[in-house]
Amino acid sequence: MKQFAYARPADREEAVAMVSGSPGARYLAGGTNLVDLMRLGVAGPDLLVDVSALLPSGVQEQPDRGLLIGAGTPNSDLAADERIRRDHPVLSQALLAGASGQLRNMATVGGNLLQRTRCVYFTDVTKPCNKREAGSGCPARTGAHRDLAVLGASEACIATHPSDMAVALAALDARVHVSGSDGDRVLALDDFYRLPGEDPSRDTTLKHGDLVTAVEIPLASALTRRSAYRKARDRASYAFALGSVAVALEVSGTTVRDVRIAFGSLAHRPWRARTAEDALRGAPATADAFSAAVEVELGAAAPLPDNAFKVPLARNLAVSVLSALLEEAPR
């Protein structure tokens, strides 16, 4: 393994200064993704700035503004938080659908958002990959792409974002708090993640040195309380999603009052299905309407030979979860 320096700065400002000032520096949180990538030679930092002790950990209630989740909160703690389980079950379920108990104990909220793609070429330094090495090519298109994107991909890259948690956060309209060398800012999840476009090297809009300090989720509502996550994968546990969906549904009488749908593992970012949501708001709350709306959303899909199954999978996931939520909804 490549030699590297390790630092434990005293506070956030020092951490940001350390990383911003050194192109080869990386933040280290739980290390469950970064250390693996270092072992594989995919990441080769010369300085690791350990922020695990200085990042806020835990869930804070902000009067009138919802919950503020510290970026250092372990995934397992967040999943177990009573307010999350009661008011935002989709988030707890998404977390519990990810990785394993041991990994969730180590993994942090910030690290989870910033985990890298699981594309098999990205993680094999002996093969080309535009995301890892700009301009080297994307062998996934004609090679192993069964797990990869059907929406929003580019010629340069068809990677998917692997996080389950982020999909639930997308459905919850979460916002990411960031500290950078130019100060603090708050980004909507939509403005945080990006599509690969011409430059797949970047997963997010963050600049080098930007530190994620917290994630904010808006006040709970009837909508967020009736929310759920479902993930389909190649085995019952401990596998990344082939497709997943985070859904929240509020009905009034027989009509959809409000709805949120976000897909995971279909794109370079959590895919918020706004077209489907718009179509459903005010529409009859029936399986047929759900299906029709989701089909329109997925009409934009451009699958490849080995991942075409993801399109009907995503539709079925969404329809099944919407239908299940509908069944338990008060009219």
């Binding site: 490549k2 030679g41 085995r235």
Partner: protein, 698 residues
């Protein structure tokens, strides 16, 4: 647990003798032996799919901190040729497959060795690799023979003409992907030279073969080589023969004149320790409307490497399973730019029985005969190809008792009609079989005046419970309590014995242990029944093995599975499995149960998850860890209920055992696939049965 017959049983039950050592971390594995001044070697593997190594930046690497040596074919010591490309490391510029060892970095710490190895500049002349097995591959050929000494083809009558004349026909092609062994403990070795002697602590299924191979490769007297294999964390065939790692450790230790450790990573295991060949199998069954088979035709296409032939005996089991007057079986190979495939738990039977038992299910559907009854109807009286008598054959009993235990009776054969909530539910079954092998072994048994007995044999306990099994065979023969017997295994200083493989460990070693104990009792009797000084005997079983009559020796079994398929996602679960086996004498019920459950779990894993994905563009595989090569997790495994009949077989060998290490995996994948068909009406003929294949994602 046991379905008893009235015959007497000699089944014991005893906890693993080394269990406490293992769970407390006292049990020492190959990499954990301390040695003074130890150095670490890290293999550098080819990053091209095929070609030749042109050069290695040895000087650049030697200038790095801690580096003691950099070996490649340009400077590595030459090794004697043992006809095994897998151990002929660094002997030639040829890169036969991506991931092959092309250099070795030896350094003072493992981190230094690894860093330099992964950044070492190696230049190649490369060409595009050909790594995908296809039925229409232009270079398909017929191997001389196949693994296990089986004939490549067999022809009885005219299977094709008879098939054409049959009123009921099944003609289907089944495919299985490459599968990787992945024992819990990756291959590791510690090599220590001293006073002209070589000691190797190795993670191996048989130290004897390691000793022979090393002594020939390095031109050193066998007696000067000691291989210790005290504890081994599984192998599933991948540690059956010495592999690159141990040879590199010994080579490096000699080169730098220090003890050297080599531990392969999980990544290395994909390329360096063998794997199960992918197969494309065509099965044609011709039958009468009552399901009686008239013609069986089974052909398997497989791959091997350009540098070495390994031909898996995929259709061997078909030769013993069912009666039919006309039969044909065949193996064909393609040489590809791939690593040499090798043994993986029940090589041959595992892929072959997936195909045959799936086809039998298709025949049951075509004839309307119940799948259990279909197999009973076609059960032969004698070995259907050799005409030999079976030492014992209790497939029918397994089918009947297994069906009872599972609750098979009254099953509605109609596929795709049972729904529970969002699940489609179905049941399926398949037969299992595995041949009973035995090889000669030697053993020493002694008794001391204090009444303590000891047994010494170079058996290897790879986690199966072999130590404990030998203890029970000895105690049973001696007629003493197991607490009075001590068993030593896993060291070539002990009397020579064969490997833990082919499900023959307990039989081969047990025969020697039993004989030694019998002779010890006689020696004690001859001494007047008093032990006032140590009495010791040494035996081997060459004569017993040579005297074995020409019989057809096989264990049999039947497996039953309930499968559920999610109608929204196509995901498959198998909440309930039953296995019933007839495998001769079961020496230790406790560890036997684990072996059978483990085998069925691995079969379930094969059915639903495991898939090595060849990288058509770059060579090798695209998977490189256990998050991209899926094996069943605890959450995937439901209730597995195993049992056996108390099969007393005095003809199979001198101790009546048939072996249980492998039969558990045989047939499982077919039983799962058949259950998925029954659940959905969709016949998946291509493993693994992933959600995209179950027909729910239209």
């Amino acid at each position: 647990m046991t379905a008893t017959t009235d015959a007497p049983t000699r089944t014991g039950t005893h906890p693993r003798v080394e269990g406490l050592d293992k769970v407390t971390g006292r049990a020492r594995y190959a990499y954990e032996y301390a040695a003074d001044e130890v150095a670490y070697a890290w293999p550098v593997t080819a990053s091209v799919g095929a070609g030749e190594v042109r050069g290695v930046d040895v000087d650049g690497a030697l200038a790095q901190p801690g580096v003691l040596a950099v070996l490649w074919h340009g400077n590595a010591p030459s090794l004697a040729d043992v006809g095994d490309s897998k151990v002929a490391v660094l002997q030639s510029p040829v890169v036969a497959f991506r991931g092959q060892v092309v250099a070795l970095v030896v350094a003072s710490t493992s981190e230094q060795a690894r860093e330099v190895a992964t950044t070492l500049t190696v230049t190649y002349d490369s060409r595009e690799p050909d790594v995908v097995l296809r039925a229409d591959h232009p270079t398909l050929y017929r191997p001389e023979s196949v693994n296990g000494g089986y004939s490549t083809d067999s022809v009885i009558g005219d299977a094709v003409a008879e098939f054409d004349a049959c009123p009921v026909q099944v003609d289907a092609t089944y495919t299985t992907p490459p599968e990787h062994n992945h024992p819990m403990e990756p291959h590791a070795s510690t090599a220590v030279w001293g006073d002209g002697r070589l000691t190797v602590y190795d993670s191996s299924q048989g130290g004897n073969a390691v000793r022979s191979t090393l002594s020939t490769l390095f031109g050193i007297d066998r007696e000067l080589v000691r291989v210790v294999t005290s504890h081994v964390g599984g192998g599933f065939g991948s540690k059956g023969m010495p592999r690159a790692g141990v040879v590199l450790a010994v080579m490096a230790a000699r080169q730098v004149d220090r003890p050297v450790k080599v531990a392969l990573t999980r990544q290395h295991l994909f390329d360096l320790v063998g794997y199960r060949t992918p197969t494309i199998q065509r099965v044609r069954l011709g039958a009468d409307p009552d399901g009686r088979l008239r013609s069986i035709d089974h052909q398997a296409l497989e791959q091997t490497a350009t540098v070495e032939e390994f031909a898996e005996q995929s259709v061997a089991a078909t030769r013993v399973m069912y009666a039919a007057a006309h039969r044909r079986t065949a193996h064909r190979l393609v040489r590809l730019d791939v690593a040499v495939p090798s043994w993986m738990r029940a090589p041959g039977e595992t892929p072959g029985m997936y195909a045959l038992e799936s086809a039998m299910d298709e025949l049951a559907v075509a004839t309307g005969v119940d799948p259990v009854e279909l197999r009973i109807r076609n059960d032969p009286d004698v070995d259907p190809e050799t005409g030999a008598r079976f030492s014992s054959r209790n497939l029918v009993a397994c089918l009947t008792l297994g069906a009872q235990r599972f609750g098979w009776a009254g099953r509605d054969p109609e596929p795709g009609v049972r729904r529970e909530g969002r699940w489609l539910v179905g049941t399926g079954m398949a037969s299992s079989t595995y041949p009973t092998y035995a090889t000669a072994a030697s053993c020493r048994a002694g008794v001391d005046p204090d009444g303590g007995y000891d047994i010494a044999i170079n058996a290897t306990d790879i986690g199966t419970g072999a130590r404990t099994a030998m203890l029970l065979v000895a105690a049973d023969t001696l007629g003493v309590d197991p607490s009075q017997v001590r068993v030593r295994v896993g060291d070539t200083d002990l009397p020579q014995a064969g490997l833990a493989g082919g499900s023959m460990g307990t039989t081969s070693w047990g025969m020697a242990v039993e004989k030694a104990c019998r002779e010890l009792l006689e020696a004690v009797r001859a001494a007047g029944g008093v032990v006032d000084e140590r009495i010791e005997v040494a035996v081997d079983t060459k004569a017993e093995i040579a005297a074995q009559a020409e019989l057809s020796r096989h264990a049999f079994g039947a497996q039953f599975v309930e499968a559920r398929v999610d109608i929204d996602t196509g995901e498959v679960r198998a909440p309930r499995m039953v296995g019933m086996f007839a495998a001769g004498r079961i020496v230790n019920a406790r560890t036997a149960r684990s072996q059978l459950i483990g085998g069925m779990t691995m079969g379930l894993s094969m059915a639903l998850h495991e898939e090595g994905v060849p990288d058509a563009a770059f060579g090798g595989f695209t998977n490189h860890d256990l998050s991209t090569y899926h094996v069943a997790t605890v959450a995937d495994v439901g209730d597995i209920d195993v049992g056996w009949i108390d099969e007393v077989d005095d003809d199979v060998n001198t101790i009546g055992t048939k072996g249980i290490g492998e039969i558990g995996i045989v047939g499982t994948a077919a039983a799962v696939a058949n259950a998925v068909y029954h659940a959905t009406g969709v016949r998946v003929r291509d493993l693994p049965i992933t959600l995209d294949k179950t027909g729910q994602l239209a």
